[in-house]
Amino acid sequence: MAYKLTVNGKSQTVDVPGEMPLLWVLRDVLNMKGTKFGCGIGACGACTVHVGNKAVRACQTPISTVNAEVKTIEGLSADGSHPLQKAWLEVDVPQCGYCQAGQLMSAAALLASKPKPTDSDIAAAMSGNVCRCGTYLRIREAIHLAANGRKS
């Protein structure tokens, strides 16, 4: 069945089963590889994208339920100019880097609703995103840097 959706401001039509998760529509149909597969059950956050400004797990979002604009890591900014991307670069957050697209999308949703988050706001908003390499201290530092221009 054909579904219309807007991804990063661009209109797209995809002909896929309605239960196909947004994650696989993005990765295998629209060929946008930035959003990652980690667990397939919404337990790791690697596939976090925004649907209508809310952070959702794309692996748990059937395409038939997508009723608002989708934003992915590719749409956060292509040139790395989003304050969170700049902070991630300055703090040198990544180790393997696989989770970081999802981390950035969760952090972007957090800052959109709470421009000056506390450590406990960050813990609450980011605990659905696993970093297997354990870069949490730097993620926290980078979110503070993006929010306040300071690292903590």
Binding site: G80, D92, C99, V130
Partner: protein, 772 residues
Amino acid sequence: MKNMKTKQLDRRSFIKVSALAGGGMLIAFYTENGLLAQQRGPAPAPTPINPNTYIKVLPDNTFTIVSKNPETGQGIRNSLPMIIADEFDVDWKQVKIEQADRDDKYGRDMGAPTVGQIEGGSTATPQNYQPMRNVGATARAMMVAAAAKQWNVPASEVTTGSGIVTHTPTKRTATYASLAQTALAMPVPELSSVKLKDPKDFKIIGKPTPGVDNFAIVTGKPSFSIDVNPPGMLHAVYEKCPVFGGKAVSANLDEIKKLPGVKHAFIVPASPDPTPAPAGAPPAPNVRWASGVAIVADNWWLANNARKSLKPVWDEGPVASQSSAGYLAQAKQLSSTQASQTPAGGTPRSAKEGDAEAAFKTAAKIVEAEYAFPLLSHAPLEPQNSTAHYKDGKLEIWSPSQIPQIANAAVPAGIQNSDVTFHLVRAGGGFGRRLVSEYDIEVSKIARLVTDERAKQGLPSVPVKLLWTREDDIHHDNYRPAGFHYFKAGLDASGKLIAFRDYVASHGTTSVIPANEFPRGFVANFWVSEGQITPYGIPTGALRAPSTNGVSFVMQSFIDEIAVEAGKDPLQYRLDLLANPLVPAPPASPNSFGAPFNAQRAIGVLEAVRDMSGWKNRDKLPKGTGLGTAFQFAHSGYVAYVVEAAVTADKKLKVNKAWAAIDIGSQIVNPSEAVNLVQGGFIEAMSHMMAWEITIDRGRVVQNNFSQYQPTRMSQAPPSIEVKFLKTDFTPTGLGEPSLPPAVPAISNAIFAATGIRIRSLPLGSQGYRWT
């Protein structure tokens, strides 16, 4: 190639210089790392030269440096090129990194147990630090010589910096690029004449340098193996028997093939048993694969969705009668007799010094304890995957392997090594999981079968990506071996440790027997032996810091118990033991890679972490809060932790703070990555502590996904993990592994300090503990 010349620099290194099309030059090196040189023995280095490291000097005076090792998040794409760039004396911003493919030139030959392209064992820095310095410095010397010739001045009047040569007296300058033609026409310098930088003049080595792939990562550019997407690619899933060693007998393939998007479905028979290598030859490559059912479809979700309708019939085989409960029962039974059944081979698996039994009889105090740690899965965040294209008798493969020379993709495809092109792609975490890359073997087999089926239908070949689910990854790992330790210690009236006994119920050759661990060498009567749990059908392998990742927990926790029983400060008790070796240590060689345990370095990190953490004021902490310590010698490095933990009456645990003191020699190549790795090692240890456990029921893994195998989360991460590197006179060694092991006992010893409850088995989650 025009202007090409080759020169032998020393017995193990060569240089080849050639012009680049469009201007500029290529300076290529063959350098053999120390371990390979040792393994090769007297054999000459290969000719003709097949360079394995190179610098391209481009006409715009920028430089491309090849990075040969697999990148899984340890930062090697930064650190090895940083070493070259610093000695070459260019600016880091002038450098671009190029990932090398797998090539036999990096190792002796296929199937060699130790190879030149490996992410494992924290070996890259110690093996490559000196060769990479030589590479950069030799290339710099060529630029200096070219400028001196061009200007007809003595080389001693010429300096370099930022890829520019300057004649100091006249202030004349020339870029490296402009000197390329002159350099090409000149003799290559003798390595013995090449001067390395004084480390105080390093401009890149030792400076925090962000990851070279960070921009691609934060903007979502395809960077990982899972992102590989050659034109026309199909997507595969591969269902294997949930019981280890089980085989696929049949499946409803006709039904599966009718499902939406499914293009191929077939049973892959198990690999034939490998033929043993002839005497004296290198071990046969690991080319075993498990039988299973492959489904290949237009996209991965369709392939995986079809899997829900799959009705495979398995021959589960003999492992189906085994379980974790059975292994534990056998361990207990073995411990009651302490029958020794030490298998041959591998690291020392038993040790007996003095007479522990006799000493126990004279001891003023006996301390006994049983310890256990479970099987662990690696769970890197990027599930296992690999992409292959079999076409016209050749195979092209894109893989996240940590050790591409080992998993021989040629064999399952039925071709020769020389017909395989193997691209190494950034991996979303390794942790040792990708030291076994059976997914490369599986995808090669599947790609061959897909091409063969399509040929029969008159269709062209296509690439195939195999992607495992998270469940596949947890169910089909090579697990960190479990351990069952039965300890006994004897103390004299002063609290001094006079006898130490560890009986280990082990399984297979990968089980860890701490026969050479501290306190060996510091206690007069020391006895470690093992008994084998058998049969044991679970595949085991290396997880980050193999051996010490489990053994540090049991040894450093039991030492802590002994100190407490002796009525001593646990940190000082360790220092006192270390200060009194049975035989005085010989003078330490500055070459620390692979060197034996050096008590002075262990004392150094323990004293440093004591002073950083305010250890002496630990009695002033509030009730329910305590400091714990542990140290470990692992992979040539020395790490000591102090952890502050708070525990409530209902077993809610919080790590308030951690301090690490680390000695990995004279130079940290990239301090930013180094601190990140240590903090990450600590965070991983928290996963080991609280929630990670693989259990076996009827020969299959019980846990399915992260919901039953919870990694540490942001809310549990301590506010601070303070890291201090001690700068010592030893050669630099690796850091990927050493930071993890002692973090586990430091936390469990802090729990004891906070509560008086001794943690003797892991994980804590199965004992009622939760993170706050």
